[in-house]
Amino acid sequence: MSTETLPTGSLAGPQDRVLLNVEELQLHFPIKEGFLRRTTGHVRAVDGVSFFIREGETLGLVGESGCGKTSTGRCIVRSHQPTGGRIAYHAKGSDPVDIATVEGSDLKRYRRDIRMIFQDPQSSLNPRMTLRDIIGEPLKIHGIASGSELEDRVGALLRDVGLRPEYMSRYPHAFSGGERQRVGIARALSLNPRLVVADEAVSALDVSVRAQILNLLQDLQVEHQLTYLFISHDLSVVEYLCDRVAVMYVGKVVEMADTATLFANPKHPYTEALLSAVPKPDPLLRDRRDRIVLSGDVADPSDPPSGCYFHPRCRYAKPICAEEQPPLRDVGDGTFAACHFSEELNLRGVATPPPPK
């Protein structure tokens, strides 16, 4: 780890009731080549990501595929071992712990508090296990319940997510996509977690079912006092569900702000382009707006461009952008942005039409 060379530490101020504070998180995968399997380079999947999550809020993590949002989520639940940085977790009634480095039985404690919901309910549920086994397994592993107590717990969880407890002895194939996602949510909740990492939890669902699951996630958040890290590429869902949003581009957070601020008043050109690319469900709006179409593709995380990673596609790029990498900094209004010109640029958000009467 090279903490001493890193410019910033925590972004969070003392007034924030922070649950999780991620600082300069790194996850580099080695590229091995040749007979001797020498390491010839690194894929910088996560390359200095910093953000924080306040207790009880929903933080959206958005970006294109390959930007490292899923890898970040997996570092937080520690299914990947980060190669650098800190993940400070504020457990109840104790000092913050760096869960990027804890091991063994210590780690198991935090695994109870931080759970994950996966994208594809088809492939994340074992087809040979009944719902009782799937949802009860974490309870057994952590020695919390067994026998009839376990059944009661599983039944209650199924009821919480809107399924009938009688379904307990059925297998996943007997359920539709939306119901399977409910099972995945029940499993994530079985250990009374505090933080739930939802990785594209509604992306594979149809619109009508997606609305049901989004409502369910909100209800559960209130009932169980949950904090969500909601990873998604769908900006309209993120705007609807999240309190704050962090935007990632090639392994870095380029902007983080309150949802309303970010959508109305983005401070990073990438956020502006991303917002403008979302098709709006209103045919009357399509002729009026001039969309920013980004040219080219997302930069290669094993060979990123110099300076700001976004500069080859940025329409405001100046010479300095190719030389100096902008740090993620506070640009006022609770917004953090990693752009040299955040203050000067007047970027377009998604216009908020006046509320209907």
């Binding site: 294109e64 595929s65 539709s176 996509g177 939306g178 119901e179 149809d206 619109v207 009508s208 079912v209 997606r210 609305a211 049901q212 989004l214 409502n215 909100q218 590429h233 900006l235 309209s236 869902v237 705007e239 609807y240 569900l241 309190d243 949802t259 309303a260 959508f263 109305a264 382009a273 991303l274 917002l275 403008s276 690319a277 979302v278 098709p279 709006k280 469900p281 209103d282 045919p283 009357l284 709006l285 399509r286 969309r291 179409v293 980004l294 040219s295 593709d297 997302v298 958000g349 998604v350 216009a351 908020t352 039409p353 509320p355």
Partner: protein, 359 residues
């Protein structure tokens, strides 16, 4: 064999699908994937087919080209297509009307139409392109199937069309394999393959669903440009209502194999008539509507889920999820198509059609 029919087809209509039925006899029963869908595609315009998974939108598209997977089969209905007549490979400027539903799926006639008059692009370019051939070879093959060109001429055509769809350095990319390209470039290569024979109708089955929003914006932009250049009609299948609002001239909403509502894009979005269309529009979060400014509102949902295909509800297929369900009517009578206004049609008993079958 001559499948030409002297049937009536409006002058601006390119393809008219009427009461199409496509069924899959499988062990568990008969799946009526498309059960009486009707719609029309006008020349040079874009028709979006929208619906949830399992509503039969992809099967409808495949039925048009007669490429339904076995054991599925087109069992009824008409698909009248206005086909350009050729003398050799040159267009004569005349047209005939062919009923695609009557053609043999393996016959020479439909094979001549596929890829030449009607081309199709698919959702996942990685699985629909051959991994062991270069994209150039795959495009050249598409040319050779339909036209008698020399190798060099065909290659020129392929490089030219790659350039048209915005593939940078098309000469070098001609020799690339699909795995060497990014998702957006693969989708461009597939569009190039579809356009190389100048089709009059391009069927796009969820072409941007697997892409990121920024890449999706590029591809949608490209399809707009190409439509303006080539003057082709597009049948665009999607479940994303945002894409529909962006692309469509006309919209068909499908539910369980039935076209429940159709019309021009503005009236579908701003004056939806079918309860399913209304529910669908209400259940999407709308970007920029400032949902976060007020207290958090709940999304409207549609009760339950799309029914099991083996177990279709009687009467109106939507009745058991509908908020305006009329007991004794909706669960008995299959709603007939009710036409009103210009190109508008709805299948819902709220709008009439219940009288003719009451006791």
């Amino acid at each position: 064999m001559q499948a030409a029919v002297g049937a009536d087809l409006a002058q601006d209509s390119l393809l008219s699908v009427r009461s199409l039925k496509t069924q899959f006899p499988v062990d568990q029963g008969l799946v009526k994937a498309v059960d009486g869908a009707s719609f029309e595609i006008r020349r040079g315009s874009t028709l979006c087919v929208v619906g949830e998974s399992g509503c039969g939108k992809s099967v409808t598209a495949r039925s048009i080209l007669q490429i339904v997977d076995r054991p599925g089969r087109v069992v009824g209905g008409e698909m009248l297509f206005r086909r350009r007549l050729r003398n050799g490979s040159a267009l004569t400027g005349e047209e005939e009307i062919v009923d695609l539903a009557k053609l043999d799926p393996k016959g020479a006639e439909i094979r001549d139409i596929r890829g030449r008059d009607i081309a199709m692009i698919f959702q996942e370019p990685m699985t629909s392109l051959s991994p062991v051939h270069t994209i150039g070879d795959q495009i050249v093959e598409a040319v050779h199937v339909h036209e008698n060109l020399s190798k060099a001429e065909a290659k020129d055509r392929a490089v030219d069309v790659l350039q048209r769809v915005g593939v940078p350095k098309p000469k070098q990319r001609f020799d690339s394999y699909p795995f060497q390209l990014s998702g957006g470039l693969r989708q461009r290569a597939m569009i190039a393959m579809a356009l190389v024979c100048n089709p009059v109708l391009l069927i796009a089955d969820e072409p941007t669903t697997a892409l990121d929003v920024t890449t999706q914006a590029q591809i949608l932009e490209l399809m707009h440009e190409l439509q303006a250049d080539y003057g082709m009609a597009i049948m665009f299948i999607t479940h994303d209502l945002g894409v529909v609002a962006e692309m469509a001239d006309d919209v068909v909403v499908m539910y369980l194999g039935l076209a429940v509502e159709r019309g021009d894009v503005r009236s579908i979005f701003h004056n939806p008539q079918h309860p399913y269309t209304r529910a669908l529009l209400r259940s999407i979060p709308k970007l920029g509507l400032g949902a976060r400014t007020g207290p958090r509102t709940r999304l409207d949902t549609i009760r339950g889920m799309v029914p099991d295909p083996y177990n279709r509800p009687a009467g109106c297929p939507f009745h058991n999820r509908c908020d305006e369900f009329m007991p004794g009517t909706c669960d008995r009578i299959v709603p007939p198509p009710i036409q009103f206004g210009d190109r508008r049609e709805v299948r819902c008993l709220l709008h009439g059609g219940a009288e003719e079958d009451t006791r």
